[in-house]
């Protein structure tokens, strides 16, 4: 379709929600109030790893305004894993801890009271008797013999169809290294990061006259959250009604389905709307973080700057539970070769459990770490060979018609054009050879299309 034919696509129409945002009329979860609302606060583990010997609510119950406490015994299907809806298993995270806690901050019991202050006070007065257990925090330590085993299936790693890691195998890695003139190794370690949306994660679950529960939530995925909640509460899906769609910043931090099930459970049992909104401290201390990785590279490189072989062993720190990390590791494994054409690739990407706050989805999901590592590594190679950072990238950039290591033909590549444009922007001269390159310059590339309009428009 030619650009002239387009009417609104390509135009900077003003935001649909702009007027309500600038007047403060946009309604977020914390702006919703019901007169008979109750407040939910969590009793959390003060230890990284411990056995639960007992819970005593007697002092909490004396707090004026206390309504009810909940433990795992109240949760119909207490064990779950978020991605179970699409076949990832087994269930391994408790809504409320049963016999053991695996991270500091883990949810042990919920307390519901008539005011926020009373809920905080009552939760603080719950006595949990814990026996501390040895904890493990390092991804490689966790895989060594003798490390405390955190999972009922007997390992500290997620099992990918019988394998201890997500594998990618392409070409012949040994032959690749044999052909190489240089071997360049590296180890890259991006740390965990908080999403820090300005609106904290939360919801209000409200019982309706017809027996249904309406959940006002800031989830990034309404059906995902609703379906998981229905499974956990063991209620028909149509007993739940999720309302949201307006989120005060997400960045992947609001897809974990932590607050909705327990708030809905409390609403069902008390007959009152129940609010469970993370404090800013909870957002930092107990909400999932970006995955931390340790990534080992061994690249075989030819004199002319081609990466001819890449072996990567990567350890993702999933924290205590799966959340979305097993899939992030798959995406990481697929992208750890970067946007480069490498003929021999051997990837082992591990999803490792530690006694740490679970990690999960965050903006860039599995690829942020891959881009970080590949881009530092290619600079390292350039330094070793004395090459220009633009040129080494142009030499290795994948072209249309190439094969990715996960055996998908490249069809939408424009990396060469992007790098050339960047060199132009930086007034970084490229020799004719590099100017002549394009993303369709392989023998098996499809025809080169025309770019559209960007220049025309600006």
């Amino acid at each position: 379709m030619s650009d002239q034919a387009l009417n609104t696509v390509g135009k900077s129409e003003l935001r649909r929600d702009g007027l309500s945002h600038v007047t403060g009329k946009t309604q977020y979860v914390d702006d919703i109030q019901f007169p008979d609302m109750l407040y939910l606060k969590m009793v959390r583990s003060p230890l990284h790893h411990a056995r639960i010997l007992g819970i005593d609510f007697s002092e909490a119950e004396k707090v004026p305004g206390f309504v009810r406490a909940f433990t795992y015994k109240d949760v119909p299907k207490n064990l779950y894993t978020i991605l179970c809806l699409i076949g990832v298993g087994p269930d391994e995270e408790p809504v409320l801890a049963e016999k053991e806690v695996l991270y500091k901050g883990e949810q042990i019991a919920a307390v519901v009271a008539q005011s926020e202050e009373a809920a905080i006070e009552a939760a603080a007065r719950v006595k949990v008797d814990l026996e501390e257990l040895p904890a493990v925090f390092d991804v490689e330590e966790a895989l060594k013999p003798g490390a405390p085993i955190l999972k009922p299936w007997g390992t500290n790693y997620f099992v990918y169809e019988g394998h201890h890691c997500r594998r990618v195998r392409y070409g012949n890695i040994e032959q690749g290294f044999a052909q190489a003139d240089y071997i360049v190794e590296g180890c890259y370690e991006p740390k965990p990061i908080e999403h820090a949306p300005l609106e904290t994660t939360g919801c209000i679950a409200k019982p309706e006259a017809n027996g249904r529960i309406t959940v006002y939530t800031n989830t990034q995925a309404l059906y995902f959250s609703m379906d998981n909640t229905a499974l956990i509460l063991n209620v028909p899906f149509n007993k739940l009604h999720f309302v949201g769609g307006t989120v005060g910043g997400g960045f992947g931090g609001k897809v974990d389905v932590i607050v909705e099930p327990i708030a809905a459970l409390a609403a069902m049992h008390t007959g009152h709307p129940v609010k469970y909104l993370y404090t800013r401290e909870e957002e930092f201390h107990v909400s999932s973080t970006r995955v931390a990785y340790r990534i080992y590279f061994k690249d075989g490189v030819s004199k002319d700057g081609h990466i001819v072989a890449r072996q990567v062993t990567s350890y993702a720190d999933s924290g205590a539970y799966n959340r979305h990390t097993p899939y992030a590791v798959t995406k990481h494994a697929a992208n750890i070769s970067g946007p480069y054409d490498i003929p021999n690739v051997h990837i082992d990407a591990h999803c490792v459990y530690t006694n740490r706050v679970p990690t999960s989805a965050m903006r860039g999901f599995g690829v942020t770490s891959a881009s970080f590592a590949t881009e530092l590594q290619i600079d390292k190679i350039a330094r070793k060979l004395g090459m220009d950072p633009f040129e080494i990238r142009l030499i290795n950039a994948y072209r249309n018609g190439d094969m990715r290591p996960y055996q998908k033909v490249v069809g939408d590549a424009t990396l060469v054009e992007v790098i050339q444009a960047a060199a132009g922007m930086a007034h970084h001269p490229l020799s004719e050879r590099f100017q002549a390159m394009n993303s369709w310059d392989r023998a098996n590339s499809p025809a080169r299309p025309e770019p559209v309009s960007a220049e025309k428009r600006s």
Binding site: L83, F284, N335
Partner: protein, 335 residues
Amino acid sequence: MAKLKGTGISSVNYPTGMNLGGDPTQALIHMTTTGTFVISLASCDLGQGLKTVLAQIGAETLGVPFENVLIDTGDTDTGPHCMGTFASRTTHRAGNAIIMAAQEARKTMLEIAADELEARPEDMETDGQGFVRVKGSPDRKIHLVNLALAGHFKYGKTVAGRGIFFKPNLGIDPETGKMDPDSTEAHACVMAEVEVDTETGEVKVLKLQSVYEIGRQVNPKLVEGQIKGGSVMGLGHALYESTEPYYPSPEHRPGGFFEYILPLAPDVPEMEIRVLEYPSADGPYGVKGFGEMTANAPIPAIVNAINNALGTEISTHPVTPEIVLQALDAKQSKS
């Protein structure tokens, strides 16, 4: 001790969508008596502007003004299924679903117009201004409101459509990792210029220059918003942010904004942005997903620039003053 400058680049790809369970998203469209089209969805706007771009895509396919399209989303009783807003998927997935639904609604809309104008449906066209008209004779036209009234009260027709995006899941080969996990790839090259104070270890990002290729832009200002916002988030990741600063030690975890450092307005560097557009084959109007990657690309560019400035081999982020000073010490003890 000195202030040293350095430059660094990164070139990255980012896949659109994931492929779990087919990664589906649906859309329903119907026309009301007022000639307004309501697009019903359950997709969430996180601030990126989803409600706006999806209205644009719907209006474009229907051939009606942007103002004539309402987005009704955020309610599981009325909106059909959406997998969720993540994986840079929603403009692509919901956009495709909307195009499919809009084509069906448009077909009926043109049939009603043809009946009213006594012409053939294949000779109808929309002018994007609120009229349907006969190709070649612009005077023979009918306004959307009249068309809607005729549909409702004269012909008894629903002007409506259903759409879904679905990508069959072929699974993953556990031995080789063979898979088809995404729909298309966006690309970026980011250049960073930094200044490092070798006495304090502090890094200042002076400039971020970004080139993105993201298929067709639906809304250029919203695109720019993602790139600027992602650039500054990436700057924060590169220099300041960690929930476990002494990872893998779990000690000293920040518990609030007073301990966890985010970029502030005075940290914002000079930013220059250029967007290239090579429409993707399967994106709505050629869209590629790119919201997430805008935070990815700046991180290695900034760290490469720091290594360029100092001659170090820093391989972690955030690059705090402590990391800078340690790297300088390591370099010195080596030489």
